[in-house]
Symmetry: C2
Subunit: 194 residues, 2 copies
Amino acid sequence: MAGRKQFDVDEALRRAMHVFWRWGYSEASIDRLTEGTGLGRGSLYGTFGDKSALFRKSLQRYAQTYHPLYDQALSGPHPSPSAVVAAYLQVTLNRIADPTVPDGCLLTVSATQFPALDADGQAMVRAMIDDLRAMLEQALLAAGADEQEAAELALCTLATNKSLAVLSRAGFSSEDLATVAAAAARFPGRPHPL
Amino acid sequence: MAGRKQFDVDEALRRAMHVFWRWGYSEASIDRLTEGTGLGRGSLYGTFGDKSALFRKSLQRYAQTYHPLYDQALSGPHPSPSAVVAAYLQVTLNRIADPTVPDGCLLTVSATQFPALDADGQAMVRAMIDDLRAMLEQALLAAGADEQEAAELALCTLATNKSLAVLSRAGFSSEDLATVAAAAARFPGRPHPL
DNA sequence: AGATACTTGGAACGATCAGTCCAAGACGGG
DNA sequence: CCCGTCTTGGACTGATCGTTCCAAGTATCT
């Protein structure tokens, strides 16, 4: 019953992340977190600190899990900015289609709950969004977009990402989500080579 | 101190709506609602019923306030589908720029908190979003879009609307929001007459 | 084996939650 | 002027919130 840790810390964090993801910070009560992770209160607090700290570690865990996927999708040589956008949004669609994780996206859910977060939480959410934006911008530049185009397109792709999350939370079909993503990758821009 | 109602019911509802809008359903405690409206608990419950009922009435009040603005923006004769999209999103940008109302949009905040809402609340949020979608589709058809184009564009414009709300909540600048809106109105579609 | 360090589940705390209730008071009708 | 009706603010309830604490128990080290 005790002695050395009886659970996998990382797996527990993954489950806590899912609780925040599904319920949002406010509705992610300690009871839901203990139930979701299978840990007792003592173990939760002893391992992760208070709720705010656990939330921040869940955000970290989220980035650790999904940013590499975005990175990989963005890294491949892309024939056009449009291809970059399509690859990025495909990662989002895949995550949303994954039945083992909650709807939407932890960052979007957290962003809409900004007033409920403390200063540290807000700063971290904002930094993670900015990070994605910068990753997108770099990849778009590498795909041949000029500076202005890259900046605008990165912002719009991020916006589409957020909208997919909201629509998913509201129960829109995966067909609708795919339509939105496809349209976002079919922007006018300058006429691209192919 | 009592006798006949000492407050304006509609104004109180407007303020309650702002509390739900800013804080989201979960964080909109009865204390915050009484403070925000200036009403005592007795008056709040006596006039509007419990929290869930007050939330639904706030949603109604929201539609009552903003749907006419969307209606008006969509009604004018528009030279192209693109003009419809631009007019619609301008209403959203104007609302977000209004310093007297909270950031984002009540529907988007509520949609991301779906698991925290009861069945009635969820259904009402979903119905209001569907309503906006239908309004957009009608206006796009009237502006000369074919059926498929109208359906897709209505969905994408709705998506952009949601993304503007999320980005606004996350603290993005109004310039960034305007950029996203402008890009959404500059879609490829079929080459339009002008 | 004994001592120490650590983990664990649950009890307990004060604060806050949504919701109910009521005495006090103010209006309108007779 | 007086009675009945309605409104109001605040006290109150039971549940739940986040957090702390601890006795009981187990593994590791000497």
